[in-house]
Amino acid sequence: MSEVLLKVKHLATEFDTEQGIARALDDISFEVKAGETLGIVGESGCGKSVTSLSIMRLLPKPAGNIVNGEVNFKGQDLVNLPADDMHNIRGNRIAMIFQEPMTALNPVYRISRQLNETLALHNPGMSKDDIQQASIDMLKRVGIPAPERRMKEYPHQLSGGMRQRVMIAIALLCNPEILIADEPTTALDVTIQAQILKLLKDLQKETGMSIIFITHDLGVIAEVCDRVLVMYGGRIIEQADIFTLFDKPSHPYTRGLLNAIPRLEKPAKETLSTIPGMVPSLFDFPPGCRFQNRCEYVQTRCEQETPDLEMHGNDTHQVRCFRFKELVNL
């Protein structure tokens, strides 16, 4: 069993908004082991991005606050770490790439400056020439042709895929132990998406880093992840290794998601199955199970008590549902 790098325990994050306090994350616990890829999947607003921002302490201030729990990174609790120590971890030991490569780079500075800056920050002793060379090498590694020329260009001169490669290059400059990829391919077209996913896998093989991969796309999850967390309404509702999740989805929500994927072997023009209803807003969640109003197996108990995340079968599979055991046979 490989070493556990990151241990998130009972993490809860709230947003102070004009309509009141919104609990965006509730009792989030999971682990990231060295070298593995953990997927976090869920629909918009389920808290997957907030999870990553909470780990990095990048929540929009002053509205977003971690109110409970810990994020243990190799023995250090990141939630209570002094700001200066946090600066040394960000971009250096835990790096992050974002959804929108179009806006994630500063439009008024050259690529070289945006790369070199990170290296200079975390390696104060490094000479300017070495930094420049290291940046060029990194651009080469992420598959950017003619890196010397690209270094002199501005972000608007690069395509979306190129920019995401530059973002990945920036993130990997300092050899981070964990890379958080927050929907890195969502804004890209499918062929570029496949290239970026392959690149991330190859780089992971080279460096041995762990990846937390956030997406709403189960197809992407299937391609890159070792383990998956499924989130709904700010909670983890199912956690499993990739094969178990796709073979034996146990939470009604996960089953609904997988059923909603159109399949080649099914007859064409059949109506796609969907999960009825909408996600309630963070202020309107009912007590008890948050999925109750959209669940076809709902019982009175689901409306009164919150189910725990329970072990199911093998030791990596956990489900937050009172009825998952009966559902296996349905």
Binding site: M56, F98, L105, V108, E117, I170
Partner: protein
């Protein structure tokens, strides 16, 4: 880029002709003109002198200018020719740096303007510098401490300054600090003893001593727009993805602002920069009037009232040219701070 600016420079010519021709034609059609004003003045003069020298007996005849004299005057100022012809004459003279002669002072227009220009420029440039020096840091602090007490209180102060017309601010300052407290002089560009002062330093101090109140009146209303432009633009940029990227790289928040967000926030300010040029020179005739400053604003206003068209057109030429170059300067500023801007 160079090509673009050359084209912009060439475009100044037709724009300039358009502006001046419009004003020139208007001056022809407004009732009353320099000749009528002279006739009226002559009438007044002769009635006064006529009252005293009635015995000499040439009464009514000398009361007005005779037809020959009027014709001479019309010829002299070009009123005898069709509008476009005399516009052409005027334009040819302007191209040779001759703005004509004031109908009121009989001085060359350029000399009159040259006398006033440094005074207006002094106030204009200082006002602009002070405005930038207040607005940019203030906007920065307001954005960083958005919704704090500091933010609210400074907003109130800024809006009060913005809401009160500058001439009212001027009058209040004059009454309180010059008249009641007697801390500052009542007006003028410098004091009566200016010529007798021994050192340059003393003279400079005297000018600033006189400039304090009018500058305050100018500045009070001017930094609201700039401060809020700075604040809002910085707030937008603070929420931008690339600032989050910068922090995710490990850059501390404060440095992420100064290194990354600031330059992007200055783009709208830069767009504004060139427009200031004409404002610099224009000045406010009300403030100049209140503080008894002989600037261009007052000159322009008085010459319109007195139908001193050569001066009106002269001031127009100067401000039109400045405005036109100011626009190009704005473009250069924007291109300097924003690499995405590509002028073709």
């Amino acid at each position: 880029m160079t090509q673009y600016f050359i084209r912009r420079l060439l475009l100044i010519v037709p724009t300039f002709i358009g502006i001046t021709i419009l004003v020139f034609v208007i001056t022809r059609f407004v009732p009353g003109g320099p000749i009528e004003r002279m006739i009226a003045e002559a009438q007044q003069a002769s009635m006064q002198s006529g009252g005293m020298t009635q015995s000499s007996g040439n009464g009514i005849g000398a009361a007005t200018l005779d037809q020959d004299q009027i014709k001479q005057l019309e010829e002299y100022y070009g009123f005898d020719k069709p509008v476009l012809v005399s516009y052409w004459d005027w334009l040819v003279k302007v191209v040779h740096f001759d703005l004509g002669v004031s109908t009121r002072y009989s001085d060359p227009v350029w000399d009159t303007i040259k006398e006033r220009l440094p005074i207006s420029a002094f106030y204009g440039i200082l006002t602009m510098l002070i405005t930038y020096f207040i607005s940019i840091p203030l906007g920065y602090m307001k954005a960083v401490r958005h919704n704090s007490h500091f933010d609210h209180v400074s907003s109130i102060v800024v809006f009060i300054g913005y809401a009160i017309p500058s001439y009212v601010v001027g009058i209040i300052l004059l009454v309180v600090f010059a008249s009641n407290l007697e801390w500052f002089p009542m007006g003028g560009f410098y004091g009566d003893e200016f010529e007798d002062m021994d050192s340059k330093l003393e003279q400079v101090a005297d000018v600033f001593y006189h400039a304090a109140l009018p500058l305050l009146a100018y500045v009070a209303g001017s930094f609201a727009v700039m401060t809020f432009m700075m604040k809002n633009s910085l707030m937008d940029n603070l929420a931008a993805d690339y600032v989050r990227t910068a922090i995710a790289k490990g850059i501390p928040f404060k440095k992420a602002i100064t290194r990354h967000a600031m330059r992007n926030s200055l783009i709208p300010i830069a767009t504004h920069f060139g427009n200031n040029i004409s404002v610099i020179i224009g000045g406010s005739f009300l403030i100049e009037k209140i503080f008894n400053i002989d600037g261009l604003g007052l000159l322009g206003y008085e010459s319109i009232v007195e139908r001193d068209y050569p001066i009106v057109l002269g001031v127009l030429v100067i401000s039109a040219i400045l405005q036109l170059f100011g626009n190009i300067l704005s473009d250069i500023c924007v291109a300097a701070v924003d690499p995405r801007v590509q002028f073709r």
